[in-house]
């Protein structure tokens, strides 16, 4: 019980707003530092597809962690689909191992996380129009084109998609801390533009 209490306190210290976001996708790149022969890899590896007319890279997938990699002839690789930074690194290492086993001298140079996408729910509806009026310089809200408001946070170079239901998508982060900072930045703004519901009307119409 005490442990849970302290864990709860830890959570609150990290997420003072009380809302926790989940990371949905991590995109990373790594340089395997050797020229690859895409045709042989495509023929030898079981879970790969290579269509040079459509795209000049091999698309390879592994089951655990469930990720996809794009491998280019120069030796660069993009790894997508992981749910955390450690998983992304692990998956990238697995892909590099596959390439190694196929006979290429693959190394693991310059692993870098390029993008992290997370989603969360603040659990109250938001007045998007009010938000776009007051933060006009950062917001772009076109209900005809896209139902969500696109908030470009200049100080952290992140983009947040804010929906009227209260669901938020944060993207453009290079680490989990970036996402934290951006979310803690936007949370007070969202509470300011909370939609206050009036429930009594629904009761009347049910008669």
């Amino acid at each position: 019980m005490a442990e849970q209490g302290s864990q709860g306190k830890q959570l609150l210290s990290r997420h003072p707003s009380g809302v926790v976001f989940t990371i949905q996708n991590v995109v990373s790149t790594v340089n395997m530092d050797c020229k690859l022969d895409l045709k042989t890899i495509a023929l030898l590896a079981r879970n790969s597809e290579y269509n040079p007319k459509r795209f000049a890279a091999i698309i390879m997938r592994i089951r655990e962690p469930k990720t996809t990699a794009l491998m280019f002839a120069s030796g660069q690789m993009v790894c997508t689909g992981a749910k955390s930074e450690q998983q992304s690194k692990l998956a990238a290492r697995k892909f590099a191992r596959i390439v190694q086993k196929l006979g290429f001298p693959a190394k693991f140079k310059d692993f870098k996380i390029q993008n992290m996408l997370s989603s969360c729910d603040v659990k109250f509806p938001i007045r998007l129009e009010g938000l776009s009026l007051s933060h006009g310089a950062f917001c772009s809200y076109e209900p005809e084109i896209f139902p969500g408001l696109i908030y470009r946070m200049r100080q952290s170079k992140m983009v947040l998609l804010i929906f009227a239901s209260g669901k938020i998508i944060l993207t453009g982060a290079k680490s989990e801390d970036d996402t934290h900072a951006a979310f803690e930045n936007i949370y007070p703004v969202l509470t300011e533009f909370r939609k206050i519901q009036q429930w009594y009307v629904i009761v009347f119409s049910l008669q």
Partner: protein
């Protein structure tokens, strides 16, 4: 009425501009300072003798400040008789060969004018769209982009800035070949470029259902009473948490109001007039139905009539 220096009075005096004769006259001594001034205002007709051939009073088309030289339209024509006189025919050829620096601009303006005429837009919106296009054109970053989409987006932004927004679907219908997505992307691009260029002056508020209501109602031929009721309903619906595009809300409210009145419009007509799909109108109607007694004004329909409203 202006102040200019009169040589006879040897001081600055009040000067009157006589439009009928085109004279600038000193009001103190009556000296004519300038005669035959060229009228640069918009078209006016002379009924002297309706010879359509050549009206020597006119000296050219209206000036357009957006074009490089103000739109001077003097050309060298071929003389009658086709003498093949070397000088006159060569001059004609040389002029047409020389690249008119504004050719793209003029073509773009013409396209914008065609689109605006199809939609029945006033000249202010057309001129604003031309200005926006000129500003974008100067930046040169639209070289590779879809020209139709850019022009359509200029028109869309002009309508929004003049507080007479048109839905993207309406603009789509007159823009040849541009899809809703392309126009949306072009619009974002233009807004970003102009913000960088001119600072924060792109004040375009969000669209509301009420902006389009009047137009949709008149397309459908609704009575004045119904139109007023619909406008009130839209005002009240803004407070309710309905997560739908404002156009769909407008269409659903029109549907509700017409169902309550005597002249019921079928879903297909409303769908055609608003550009909203029938399924979407039905879904928006489903969302609005619980709030019907609250948004429909009591002056238009009583509680019992609301019971007649078919449940979605």
């Amino acid at each position: 009425m202006a102040d200019a220096f009169c040589p006879d009075c040897k001081r600055s005096t009040e000067v009157v501009f006589d439009h009928s004769a085109g004279d600038t006259v000193c009001s103190e001594c009556g000296l004519v300072l300038e005669a035959h001034s060229i009228d640069v205002t918009s078209e006016w007709r002379t009924f002297a003798n309706e010879s359509a051939d050549n009206d020597p009073v006119r000296v050219g088309g209206p000036t357009n400040p957006l074009l490089t030289d103000g739109g001077l339209s003097t050309v060298i024509s071929k003389p009658n008789g086709a003498q093949a006189d070397f000088l006159s025919s060569s001059l004609g050829r040389w002029q047409s060969r020389g690249a008119n620096p504004d050719r793209n601009l003029i073509l773009a303006f013409k396209t914008i004018a065609t689109m605006a005429d199809r939609l029945g837009l006033v000249a202010t919106i057309k001129d604003r769209a031309n200005e926006i296009y000129k500003k974008i054109e100067d930046l040169k970053s639209i070289r590779g982009r879809n020209q139709d989409a850019i022009l359509a987006a200029c028109l869309y932004i002009a309508c929004r800035q003049e507080d007479r927004p048109r839905t993207v679907k309406e603009i789509c219908s007159v823009a040849n070949g541009a899809t809703k997505k392309e126009i949306g992307r072009a619009k974002e691009f233009i807004v970003k470029q102009l913000e960088v260029e001119m600072g924060q002056s792109m004040e375009m508020g969000t669209i509301h259902a009420g902006d389009f209501l009047r137009r949709f109602c008149s397309h459908l031929g609704m009575t004045n009473q119904a139109v007023k009721a619909a406008q009130e309903a839209v005002q009240k619906s803004e407070e309710i948490d309905i997560r739908r595009s404002p156009i769909s809300i407008a269409a659903a409210i029109i549907y509700m109001i017409t169902q309550l009145s005597d002249d019921k419009k079928p879903l297909k007509d409303i769908s055609l007039a608003t550009g909203v799909a029938e399924g979407t109108i039905r879904n928006s109607y489903k969302d609005l139905y619980p709030y019907a007694p609250r948004i429909i004004p009591t002056s238009f329909a009583k509680e019992e009539d609301l019971k007649n409203l078919c449940s979605p």
